[in-house]
C-alpha cells in the first residue's frame, strides 16, 4: 500500500553502478549501463520499460544467474546483508539465491521442470537451504501451496507441472520463491503470460502475501496498469539505463522524463476518456552496441537539445525521492539545473 513519507530505513538491497555486457559474435552488447537503485524492507519496487531495456538482465546480474560467457558483469556493487553479491564466493551466492532472494520468472509454462513433480520442486530449496527433513519439507510445501491459494494442496504435490493451468503454475513458482522466507522477492514479468482475470488473481495474491510476510519485492513489468496497482516506488528503464525513479503517485502524476511521459500517453485505458488517436512514440529503441555517449532516447524525444547528442544525462533529483535522467525540466520548461 502506498503511504506517506517512508521512515528512514536501511535498504535491504543496494545496487550501485551495475554494468553488464554480452559478448556476441556481432560485438559487445551493453545491456545494462550504470544502473543504481535500492529496495527497502517491505517495499514493492516496480520496474517498467520496454522490451529489451535491460530489466531482466539487471535482475539476473544481481545474483549471478546470467550464463558467463556470454554475459560479463563488469562493474558495480550489489550490497545485500552486508555482502557484495558480485564479489562473494559462489557458495555464499548460492545460499543467497533461493534462500534469501526469491525469483519468479515470466513464463510459468517453461520455468518449471517438466519431469519432476511440483512437490519435489518446492521441497528442493527447503531441503538444500534449510536442511529440513523430508517430512518437514513436505509439510512446509503444503503450507506454501495453500498460502498461494492452491486448493487440495497435499494431493497436488504429486502432480506434474503440465497438470496445472498457467495461473496455477505461476502460483507454484511463487511458492518456490517464497519457500525459504526470502528477504527480497524478484518477480520478472510474472503475469505477462497470463490472462487478465488470472493476472488479477495473482496481483491480489501478491498484495496479500506482502502484508503477511513483509518482504521487499521487485516487480518487473511493462504494464503500467499493474505498476499503478501494486507498487510503492517505480523505476523506469530505457536502453539499459534507469531513466526515472519515483514513488508511484509522483511518477504517474508528475513524470519527469520524456519517455515516461510518452509511455503514459500512449496507453489506452478501459475507463475514462477515449482519445480519437493514440499517441505514438516514433522510432525504434536504441541498439546497445557501446557505452552510450549521448542520451539513448534522443532519437525519439520531443524535447531534444543539442546537449542530448553530446552527453548522456545523469540522474538528477526532480522532487522528493524522485530523480530523472533528462536535461529537460518539465517544471521550468527549460534545461534542468540550468
Amino acid at each position: 500500500m502506498p503511504d506517506g513519507p517512508a521512515p528512514v530505513q536501511e535498504p535491504v538491497l543496494d545496487v550501485q553502478g551495475l554494468q553488464t555486457v554480452f559478448k556476441t559474435r556481432g560485438g559487445e552488447v551493453h545491456a545494462v549501463n550504470d544502473v543504481t537503485f535500492h529496495v527497502k524492507p517491505g517495499e514493492l519496487l516496480g520496474v517498467v520499460g520496454e522490451s529489451g531495456s535491460g530489466k531482466s538482465v539487471t535482475m539476473m546480474s544481481l545474483i549471478g544467474l546470467l550464463p558467463s560467457p556470454p554475459a560479463d558483469v563488469r562493474g558495480g556493487t550489489v550490497m545485500f546483508e552486508g555482502n557484495d553479491l558480485l564479489k562473494t564466493d559462489t557458495e555464499t551466492l548460492r545460499k543467497v539465491r533461493g534462500g534469501r532472494i526469491g525469483f519468479v520468472f515470466q513464463d510459468p509454462m517453461t520455468s518449471l521442470n517438466p519431469v519432476f513433480n511440483v512437490g519435489f520442486q518446492i521441497m528442493e530449496p527447503l531441503r538444500k537451504h534449510m536442511g529440513m527433513s523430508k517430512s518437514a519439507a513436505r509439510a512446509r510445501a503444503i503450507e506454501l501451496l495453500e498460502l498461494v491459494g492452491i486448493p487440495d494442496a497435499a494431493r497436488r504435490l504429486k502432480d506434474y507441472p503440465h497438470q496445472f493451468s498457467g495461473g496455477m503454475r505461476q502460483r507454484v513458482m511463487i511458492a518456490i520463491a517464497l519457500a525459504c522466507d526470502p528477504k527480497v522477492l524478484i518477480a520478472d514479468e510474472p503475469t505477462t503470460a497470463l490472462d487478465v482475470t488470472i493476472q488479477a488473481q495473482i496481483l491480489e495474491l501478491v498484495k496479500d502475501l506482502r502484508e503477511k510476510l513483509g518482504m521487499a519485492i521487485i516487480w518487473i513489468t511493462h504494464d503500467l496498469g499493474v505498476i499503478a496497482g501494486i507498487a510503492d516506488r517505480v523505476m523506469v528503464m530505457y536502453g539499459g539505463q534507469v531513466v526515472e525513479q519515483a514513488p508511484v503517485r509522483e511518477l504517474f502524476g508528475n513524470p519527469q522524463h520524456p519517455y515516461t511521459r510518452a509511455l503514459l500517453e500512449t496507453i489506452p485505458t478501459v475507463r475514462g476518456a477515449r482519445p480519437d488517436k493514440l499517441n505514438v512514440i516514433q522510432g525504434q529503441p536504441p541498439i546497445l552496441g557501446a557505452v552510450p555517449t549521448a542520451c539513448p532516447f534522443r532519437d525519439r524525444c520531443a524535447f531534444r537539445f543539442d546537449r542530448c547528442d553530446r552527453e548522456n544525462p545523469k540522474r538528477l533529483p526532480a522532487g522528493p525521492d524522485h530523480d530523472a535522467a533528462c536535461f529537460y525540466d518539465f517544471q521550468t520548461g527549460g534545461p534542468r539545473g540550468a
Binding site: V196, G225, T269, R271
Partner: protein, 343 residues
C-alpha cells in the same frame, strides 16, 4: 438498430461450430471433441471493426480462422459479401480469398524466414493476379510505402526487421489483394507497448482510406476499446455478449464481461486504489468437457441454480446489445443498471 440501417452486414456468421476431434482408447477411436467454437453467430458490418475479446483458449483464433475457412467448420454458415464461404468448392474458395485476408499474432512466425520481404508481399499477387515482374515490383513498392516501410528493404529477410516492422510486412501482405475484410488475430499482442500504438494507428488509418472491415481479435481490452466499433466477448467457445463499444465498456451486462473489465489494471494509482474489483476464482474449464448449463457457471460470482442446468439463450437485450445470461431474463429492467453500480 441505428447501425443496421446505415450499414449492410458484410460478414454474417450463423451458428458456427468448430469441434476438434480427440482420439484415444485402444483403437484410437474418436472419443470426444474439443468444442473450440460451439455455436456462435454474429454479423460484421461493412466498414466497421468488430472486436473479439476473451481469455486465452476461449476460441477466438478458431473463430477467426473458421470465418476465413482455414479450418473446415463442423457446422454453421459463414457468408462474406453474400457468398457462402463455409461450403464453397475449392476453386471458388480460391477466388473468394482475394476478398478476405488475415493478419497474424506473431509477426515472426507469420513470415517465412526464407523468403525476402518483397517475395512475401508479392506472393498473393503471384497467386491471383497476372502481372509482369515490373508491375509486381511496383505493386510491392506501393504496398510497402503504404504501410510505412522503406521500399528499398524489399530484398531483405524478415529477421532483419524489428517486431513492429515485421507486423507491417504482414499487413502489407494482407492488403496486397485489396480485400474488403481482414481478420486481425491479436496483431499487437507480441509487440511492445510503444510499438503497439504505431500498428493500431496504421490499421485505423488504412481502414479509413481503404474502407476496410476488421474482425479484431485481442485480449487487450483497452486496445479493443480504442479500435473497435462493436465488441463481442467470448467465453469457452461461446459469445456471451455483443454490444457497441461504449455501451459495453460503460455498462457491461454479462457477469463475465463485468469481471473481465474490472480485472484490467488501471494505469493510474489514484484511481486504482478506489476501484472495487471482481476477482474471479478458479480457471477456465476445458473446452473438451464444458460444464453443464451456462459455461460460466463454475466461476460466476452471481451464479444461481438455473445456470447449472440450462444453457442461457443468446438474445437481444436492448437494441443492438446481445447477451446470454439467465440473470438478464429474470430482471430485464434492472439488468442494464446493476453492473454500472459495480464499476
Amino acid at each position: 438498430m441505428a447501425l443496421d440501417e446505415q450499414k449492410q452486414p458484410l460478414v454474417r456468421v450463423e451458428n458456427l461450430k468448430m469441434h476438434f476431434p480427440i482420439f484415444g482408447g485402444l483403437m484410437r477411436r474418436r472419443v470426444g471433441e474439443v468444442k473450440a467454437v460451439d455455436g456462435i453467430s454474429f454479423d460484421v458490418f461493412e466498414g466497421e471493426t468488430l472486436g473479439l475479446v476473451g481469455e486465452s483458449g476461449c476460441g477466438k483464433s478458431t473463430v477467426g480462422r473458421s470465418v476465413l475457412r482455414l479450418y473446415e467448420v463442423t457446422d454453421g454458415t459463414v457468408t462474406i459479401g453474400g457468398r457462402d464461404i463455409a461450403h464453397a468448392p475449392p476453386e471458388e474458395l480460391r477466388q473468394m480469398r482475394t476478398q478476405m485476408q488475415m493478419i497474424f499474432q506473431d509477426p515472426q512466425a507469420s513470415l517465412n524466414p526464407r523468403m525476402t520481404v518483397g517475395d512475401i508481399i508479392a506472393e498473393p499477387l503471384l497467386e491471383h493476379r497476372k502481372m509482369s515482374s515490373r508491375e509486381l515490383d511496383d505493386a510491392v513498392g506501393g504496398l510497402m510505402d503504404r504501410v510505412g516501410l522503406n521500399r528499398n528493404f524489399a530484398k531483405r529477410y524478415p529477421h532483419e526487421f524489428s517486431g513492429g516492422q515485421r507486423q507491417r510486412i504482414g499487413i502489407a501482405r494482407a492488403l496486397a489483394l485489396s480485400p474488403k475484410f481482414i481478420v486481425c488475430d491479436e496483431p499487437i499482442a507480441a509487440l511492445d507497448v510503444s510499438i503497439q500504438a504505431q500498428v493500431v494507428n496504421l490499421l485505423e488509418e488504412l481502414q479509413e482510406t481503404m474502407g476496410l472491415t476488421y474482425l479484431f481479435i485481442s485480449h487487450d481490452l483497452s486496445m479493443v476499446r480504442h479500435i473497435a466499433d462493436r465488441v463481442a466477448v467470448m467465453y469457452l467457445g461461446r459469445i456471451v455478449e455483443i454490444a457497441p463499444r461504449d455501451d459495453l465498456y460503460d455498462r457491461p451486462l454479462h457477469p463475465y464481461t463485468q469481471a473481465l473489465l474490472s480485472a484490467v489494471p488501471e494505469p493510474d494509482p489514484s484511481r486504482e486504489s478506489t476501484t472495487e474489483r471482481v476477482i474471479l476464482t478458479g480457471d477456465v474449464p476445458s473446452p473438451s468437457n464444458p460444464p453443464q448449463g451456462c459455461n460460466f457457471c463454475t466461476r460466476c460470482p452471481q451464479v444461481i441454480d438455473i445456470c447449472r442446468q440450462i444453457e442461457p439463450e443468446f438474445q437481444e437485450v436492448t437494441p443492438g446489445r446481445f447477451a446470454a445470461c439467465h440473470l438478464l431474463d429474470q430482471k430485464p429492467e434492472s439488468a442494464a443498471k446493476a453492473p454500472s453500480e459495480a464499476t
